[in-house]
């Protein structure tokens, strides 16, 4: 019985690998959300999980949105016992791998929203990758 399982598992993983290599599904984004802005605050952050479904390395080089004055790719970093933010001009996505933008790590820093954001709203932010790939993503505003 056991060998059958392992043969099956081996076959499945071979098939999955084959599928990933041949089917160029591009880059996808899931769980995209923006934190609601506390009253009077002119900045917030955007989060998501980036998934590189291609067999090539991809590089996120910029993000823009008509909903904000500026959108910058940032990372929260630890420095001598402190936490701060640093600008990440480009982020590499490994082939067939995902990269989370999550609280305490990578995030899109969104400055001066054009309108007040309330939970449930949607904002569009466009992600730009090296080589010209442009990906418009709808972010849900969450509290």
């Amino acid at each position: 019985m056991r060998w059958r399982h392992s043969v099956f598992a081996g076959l499945m993983s071979a098939l999955t690998a084959l599928a990933a290599a041949t089917e160029d599904a591009g880059i996808t984004v899931r769980d995209a959300w923006v934190r609601e802005t506390p009253p009077g605050m002119a900045m917030t952050a955007g989060y998501m999980v980036l998934q590189n479904k291609t067999s090539r390395r991809q590089v996120l080089v910029a993000a823009r949105s008509s909903g904000f004055e500026t959108v910058t790719i940032h990372r929260t970093v630890a420095k001598e016992g402190m936490t701060g933010m640093e600008h990440s001009p480009q982020i590499q996505l490994l082939p067939n791998a995902s990269l989370p933008f999550a609280p305490g790590g990578y995030h899109l820093m969104l400055l001066n929203p054009k309108r007040t954001l309330h939970a449930g709203d949607r904002v569009e932010i466009t992600l730009e990758f090296r080589g010209g790939l442009v990906l418009p993503v709808a972010y849900e505003v969450r509290r």
Binding site: M12, S13, P103
Partner: protein, 224 residues
């Protein structure tokens, strides 16, 4: 490949779960051991919270709270205080931590002992931009009971130094935005204004609440 990855993921989840279970069990055991021995000799290594066996009494400092009242050492007495250093122009760590603390507050409020003797204080290290009214608006968005306080650099340094809470503000003249670095930990001060424990990031509301309940039980009738 993907199958193996999946298995690895499960086992990681499982080991995290097991670690949590073991830690929780140890904590309960610690509480029991403490009650029996009346001693603080046994402490567990913990990634969520570091508890100090010999809590250090804090010394004087003077801030102003978001209602323009003096917030000094006396305001830390008679209450458990969760202290967090940050600034309002902080898009990631500060709102994340304050939202987590708001949930921890809810959990504590639901416990038998309640949250009447517990306060949450957001200490802005950026008094240049964080006025009292701005702080008030900001903290009450997360929880109506949260306090926002700040002071000048000398006063901030007095308290931050005692807690080992490093911070650095690189004010650039004329610039609207400038880098601010601050400790991401949450400091717990007991009702006798002693620095008792520190919670390490990333914070989890349930874990913070659970550990606080144990600490409060340990402190028991001696409180205040």
């Amino acid at each position: 490949m993907s199958v193996r990855y999946f298995v690895k993921k499960i086992s990681l989840k499982f080991s995290v779960m097991m670690t949590t279970v073991v830690l929780a069990a140890m904590l309960v055991w610690l509480a029991a051991a403490y009650r029996e021995n009346g001693s603080r000799a046994i402490f567990l290594p913990d990634q969520v919270m570091t508890l100090f066996p010999d809590p250090k009494p804090l010394t004087a400092f003077a801030f102003t709270d978001h209602e323009n009242r003096v917030f000094d050492l006396s305001r830390l007495k008679g209450k458990w205080s969760f202290l967090f250093f940050g600034y309002t122009h902080c898009p990631d760590i500060c709102p994340t931590t304050l939202a987590t603390l708001a949930r921890a507050h809810e959990n504590i409020a639901k416990s038998t002992a309640g949250a009447k003797d517990v306060q949450f204080v957001f200490i802005s290290v950026d008094p240049n931009r964080d006025t009292a009214s701005k702080l008030g608006q900001y903290v009450s968005y997360f929880d109506a009971t949260f306090l926002g306080v700040t002071g000048d650099d000398a006063q901030l340094g007095k308290l931050a130094g005692q807690l080992g809470a490093a911070y650095q503000v690189e004010v650039k003249p004329g610039a609207e935005n400038y880098p601010v670095y601050h400790a991401a930990a949450v400091f717990l001060v007991d009702p006798r204004a002693r620095y008792l424990a520190v919670f390490a990031p990333p914070l989890d509301a349930q874990e913070v609440g659970r550990r606080f309940e144990v600490l409060r039980q340990l402190d028991g009738p001696k409180a205040i």
